[in-house]
Amino acid sequence: MWALLRKDLQIEFRTKETLASLLMLGLLTLVILSFAFDPTSELRDEAAPGALWVAVIFAGVLGLNRSFLAERENDCLQGLLLCPVDRGTVYLAKTAGNFLFMMVAQLIIVPIFVFFFNLPATAALGGVFLALLLGVLGFAAVGTLFAAISVRTRAREVMLPLLLLPLVVPIFIGGVKVTARVLAGKPLAEVAQWLNLMGGFDFIFLVVGWLVFEYAVEE
């Protein structure tokens, strides 16, 4: 698993393609949404959490699409499957890679988000990152499974968001709720049930993905 993960990280380190595109798309989404919601108005507190999560999801879909496209373009998928490890391990390595890329992009996007939306809270950022951590993990868990599927269908760029977005609704709801409460200065204890939901989601879909991934990549 570590070898597979290191391979993805090494490719990324050399080209920086995925990170750059994740970052740019996340930033662009934030900028566009700041026009849509006028962050100087009273609406700001209502709109900001939603804007952040829309940016996370848009950038995430893009990154996930890339993660198997590279394997396919260079015919590496065969090689990947020939690895003397369980298919579930391949899934975990791929998920870990996607999770890391998205998290690193978030580390840069969130401060810019605070800056664009003139958010006062800096103390609350820990809570926001906790929500992002759980949210991005669930997103990567479901996304990696369906990226492996959609990459081999016709119209593959469209297929992934179509499959993925309805399924990650709980993550989105939870993420927006936690972010909104935390930015409003509420303690983490108040959002515990949402964090539990997201954690449960992550766990369930990591296990399910690990179990069924072999059906998604088999020839």
Binding site: L145, L162, V212
Partner: protein
């Protein structure tokens, strides 16, 4: 044995469905009294609720059949999942159409982001994606496996979405059928009408499922024949 069953399903099932559906229509439009509080529009419930229940049954069947397909790998389970998704999709669409027609005069709005409504809409989206995935991933085992993966993951996701939307929107008007008394079904003829409608839609579901499944079976058989012809041609 199977031929007798097939014959029965081909002849008796549509006949029974027709009779039950005629009875249901008669009961709903002629027999049953108009609801005092809600007026004429309440009658749509005799269609809306059975449709909703059959939708859940159909999508539940998709998940179960998908699981069996991944486990056993037989085409039978794959066809069952596919046809059940098709019928469920039809019913789900009708639920989403009949619901707003009722909601507009009663709630004063076509749509609210209430838990039940949101979950049903997302259910619709998931299985719309399921059917698209089936057309986009081609025929054969690979497409069937992909669809089965989605069928299972979607089924696990629905209760989670349901929980989260319940926490999310708590302004939830009581669903009429669960509200005993008041304008619920305490009139015996309303209850009878509802039961006949349930039966009619159960039969309709069974019959449509059968028709879809048969057409899938014939499609598969035709595909097999085509492959055999191609092989035969290439050997000459």
């Amino acid at each position: 044995m199977t031929r007798v069953l097939r014959k029965l399903a081909d002849t008796v099932l549509p006949f029974l469905t027709f009779v039950a559906m005629t009875a249901a229509i008669f009961m709903v439009f002629v027999q049953v009294p108009t609801d005092k509080v809600q007026g004429i529009v309440q009658r749509i419930f005799y269609f809306h609720v059975p449709l909703a229940m059959m939708t859940f049954a159909a999508f539940g069947l998709v998940a179960i059949a998908s699981g069996f397909f991944l486990w056993r790998g037989s085409r039978f389970w794959d066809r069952l999942a596919h046809s059940s998704a098709e019928v469920g999709m039809l019913f789900c669409t009708l639920v989403l159409i009949t619901g707003p027609i009722w909601a507009r005069p009663i709630w004063g709005t076509w749509w609210t982001w209430d838990a039940r409504l949101t979950t049903t809409l997302i259910l619709w989206l998931i299985y719309a994606a399921y059917l698209m995935l089936r057309t986009m991933s081609g025929t054969g085992d690979q497409g069937a496996r992909y669809a089965a993966v989605l069928g299972i993951v979607g089924a696990i996701d629905i209760p989670i979405i349901n929980r989260s939307v319940y926490w999310w929107r708590t302004i939830h008007p009581a669903v009429l059928i669960t509200r005993e008394g008041g304008s619920g079904l305490n009139d015996p003829s309303m209850r009878l009408t509802f039961e006949i409608c349930m039966l009619a839609f159960l039969l309709l579901f069974g019959w449509l499922l059968w028709v879809c499944n048969e057409s899938g079976r014939l499609r598969d058989a035709a595909e097999d024949l085509r492959q055999q012809v191609i092989e035969h041609e290439s050997q000459r």
